[in-house]
Amino acid sequence: MAKKKRKGVKPSHSRTGNFFNMFLLVAMGLFMVVPLVLSVSNSLKPLEELFVFPPRLFVRNPTLKNFHDVFVLMSESWVPFSRYIFNTVLITLVGTVGHLIIASLCAYALAKRKFPGRNLIFGTVVTALMFSGQVTAIPNYLIMSRIGWLDSYLALIVPAIAKPMGLFLMKQFMEQLPDSLLEAARIDGSGEFGTFMRIAMPQVKPAWLTLIIFSFQDLWNMQGGNFIYSENLKTLPYALSQIAAGGISRAGATAAVTVIMMVVPITIFIISQSSIVETMASSGIKE
């Protein structure tokens, strides 16, 4: 019997190969997902289930008591738990919006205008991708103390606004904008800022979402470290690390905060995934 040609199947792909591919992916996927499932499951476990032998992966009698405990536990400290949430949300929102605006402005000029110095600026930014924040942490502390920003939101927000990664991604994505589109707007008498706002920005929406999720991730997980010492300005990740430091007796509460912390970025990622993938396609470093 002649083998019927399956439509849309690549000749390089055998069925057995496809099966093994999926099998291996699921096996590795389980390694990635089980710890996260365990976090969620632990956060719903009543105390007696957290301390059973042998330990169980899934919860039997789910309860929201751990989440309730987090708020009660923290309401007895100087600062209510909602204050940590407020701080983190505020820092994240202001920092992300600021980063999006300022990085896009710069990316637009670098990608679409020819002016002396643009290669120098972009080259420096690419080099900055190659070292991490720890390298600059100490001088940053000294600079913050000199300009009096220590112990204020500004110390966390402002450096995040100029993250090189966001500028890099936005510039690479904007390069794809057709020049004729921008030229047409200029001929119609649109100023450069108008062209940027009305023509360029609406075209690069996928890149916005990518910048938002990366900036969001950084700021959302910001502990504040030595930059913030007033308790009422401290962030949610800081509160989480304090609760986790309580050790095994706080296992339920730790899991609850972990879940609160991870739900938000995962949700945003799910919503914006296709846009992010579209942007990352232009992320390559060309020679």
């Binding site: 390089s12 110095g117 959302w220 990740p237 989480l240 995934q273 396609a281």
Partner: protein, 314 residues
């Protein structure tokens, strides 16, 4: 003759300077666009790097003005500091093990995901592998999995199965700390580079594959090597930069799980050493020397790996 040449050269330079000046004036608006970012970038990225290099040649405890000490910090770091060699060794262990494994795993998994035909399944799998990286401090759960009592997952099951009879003190025993932390770091290694690979794979020109089949490409491995990888070189480059930078910066997860300082300094990396001197002992000059070394190593490693990657497929 010589004089004439130099005067011609001078005229040329002068002409170019004037042209550039004119162009700059015409492009005033461009500078307005880049100004806000550049000011912040210079203030919080460039100035700190330069400050760090300068401070590394001084003794500075924040209270007194910095005092120039020449190469003393570097000399102490290499010859007088008992912990620094351990920190370097651990950093290289983590970077060399988790860096390349993480990088190739990310590439392999991105490729395997791309082989799935169903669009939704593909998106779901991407989420599964990327989730540990974006879940913030979800790594705290490993503290529960490897907790030192019989209620922790690892101990509980080892005891239930009769492999051990008493709970193992995972994070109190130097010989367990490093393998566990390597697993945790690998668990979190599907980062920005992974997303870049996913995107790169989806955007390989379809017609290249068609041409490949004509030329006799038979299986998916040949397809990967001869068509896919060469056409996503820029993404491979970007992924390498992200991986190198983050593997030398490992510290937070380690400190949260193994404690800071950890037992026998088993989880002490160069960044841990930097945090120790910079934020606990306030020896800013010494800490700056560590930061400067870290900066140099990160840049050098990146340049080196880029050079190697450029050769791939040529």
């Amino acid at each position: 003759m010589k004089q004439k040449l130099s005067s011609m050269l001078w005229a040329d330079v002068k002409h170019r300077l004037v042209m550039t000046g004119k162009q700059m004036k015409r492009e005033k608006i461009s500078y307005l666009f880049v100004a806000p970012f550049c000011v912040l970038f210079i203030l919080f990225y460039l100035v700190p790097v330069i400050t760090s290099i300068c401070l590394s040649f001084t003794y500075y405890n924040v209270l007194e003005t910095p005092r120039f000490v020449g190469w003393q910090n570097y000399i102490n770091l290499f010859f007088a500091d008992d912990v620094f060699p351990t920190a370097v060794k651990n950093t290289f262990l983590f970077a060399v093990v988790t860096g390349p494994i993480g990088y190739f795993a990310a590439l392999l998994i991105a490729w395997m995901i791309n082989e799935i035909k169903n669009r939704f399944l593909r998106a779901f799998m991407t989420l599964v592998f990327y989730a540990p990286t974006i879940s913030g401090q979800a790594y705290f759960i490993w503290k529960f999995i490897f907790s030192s009592d019989s209620y922790g997952m690892a101990n509980g099951w080892l005891m239930k199965l009769g492999i051990t009879y008493s709970p193992i003190l995972w994070f109190e025993d130097a010989k367990y700390i490093q393998p566990i932390l390597i697993v945790v770091v690998l668990w979190m290694s599907m980062g920005t580079g992974f997303l870049s690979f996913i995107a790169g794979l989806q955007n390989v020109d379809r017609s290249l594959y068609e041409a490949g089949y004509m030329d006799g490409i038979k299986n998916r491995f040949q397809e990967l090597w001869y068509i896919t990888l060469p056409s996503m070189k820029p993404q491979l480059m970007f992924g390498a930069v992200m991986t190198i930078t983050s593997s030398f910066a490992i510290h937070d997860q380690l400190a949260a799980l193994a404690g800071f300082p950890s037992v026998d300094y088993a989880a002490h990396t160069v960044v841990s050493h930097l945090v120790d001197y910079g934020t606990i002992r306030f020896e800013m000059g010494y800490a700056s020397a560590i930061a400067t070394l870290l900066f140099m190593v990160m840049i050098l490693c990146n340049k080196l790996v880029q050079k190697i990657l450029r050769k791939v497929g040529n």
